[in-house]
Amino acid sequence: MKKAILILALATTGSVFAQKKTTTSATVKFDATTKLDALPVAENKTVVALIDTKGGTVAFEAQIKGFQFGNPMMQEHFNGPKWMDSEKNPTSTFKGKITNVADVKFDQDGTYVVNIEGDLTMHGISKPLTGKATIVVKAGAVSATSDFTIKLADYSLGNAGGKLADEPKITVSADFK
């Protein structure tokens, strides 16, 4: 009996694990460009991401220093104590849920638009974030993309006298395994 319970427990954890797909090469693009300044745009290609195809949990972890700018001065300002302060707040995270995960058939090829609700943490501040994402299932592989805007003021980040967009655009893409 005990053995049966143990086997059952192992089998359950095993299947739960299989529903969690991750990647260590998700990309997050940050675009705060304005007519005054074309430089504040960066990309982080080494973001850790997770999707739970059963429960609908989604999570992202991005190192702030992993954002690559074209301009060295802009990268320094982004990480500096007056902005992200990456020494004190080294990572930004998103933890949330796909609210209509049952609509996605992860065992069938297709494109699905889903609703996501969660909390985005950056600069040491957590705020609720809701948005849409597109999930593509193709030959068993799951990929997801999403774009949304955030309000700098919500995360107590300044707009450098109007040179930065008050609501920068964030683009996320992930190929899960």
Binding site: K45, T46, Q63, P72, D175
Partner: protein
């Protein structure tokens, strides 16, 4: 010289100084705004390390290793354990037996060479270390690099 002429002379000097300052300022602004990162291939590495040793060093003390390596150009030698597509580009990854890993994102100009690399290949990579963190998602330490170049 009358008082009026002295005043005019001063005004002229102030005007010239202001124009000079403006030109210097504009020049400095131009320099900073058009500046680009140097090609990593032509930048000297501050440290040369073995990949698995670097992971161990970060696991031993994340804060000490971050202080030592963050934002420094480092050459890392090791055997590639996986090649991952990242949007339209490719990342190389070296994972230790416990699942902790280093991941390298490359400069655009190196991508053609990077795409030729396969699992199991021994490589030497030079890049800017973005530091290490503990991933709550994967429950492991990970170290990321950006702007990498393959050493030939």
């Amino acid at each position: 010289m009358s008082a009026d002429e002295t005043k005019k002379g001063w005004l002229k000097k102030i005007l010239i100084a202001a124009i000079l300052l403006l030109l210097v300022g504009a020049g400095a602004a131009w320099y900073f705004f058009t500046q680009k990162f140097e090609d990593t291939a032509s930048t000297k590495a501050e440290y040369t390390v073995n990949a698995l040793d670097l992971i161990s060093e970060f696991k031993k003390s994340d804060s000490a290793a971050n202080k030592k390596y963050s934002e420094k150009i480092i050459t890392v030698n090791g055997k590639i354990t996986s090649v991952e597509s990242a949007d339209t580009t490719v990342n190389l990854k070296i994972t230790n037996p416990e699942g902790s890993y280093i991941i390298f994102a490359f400069q655009q100009k190196d991508l053609a060479d990077v795409k030729k690399i396969k699992e199991g290949d021994s490589v030497s990579i030079k890049g800017s270390c973005s530091g290490g963190s503990y991933s709550e998602i994967l429950e492991t330490e990970y170290i990321t690099f950006k702007r990498c170049s393959l050493n030939k």
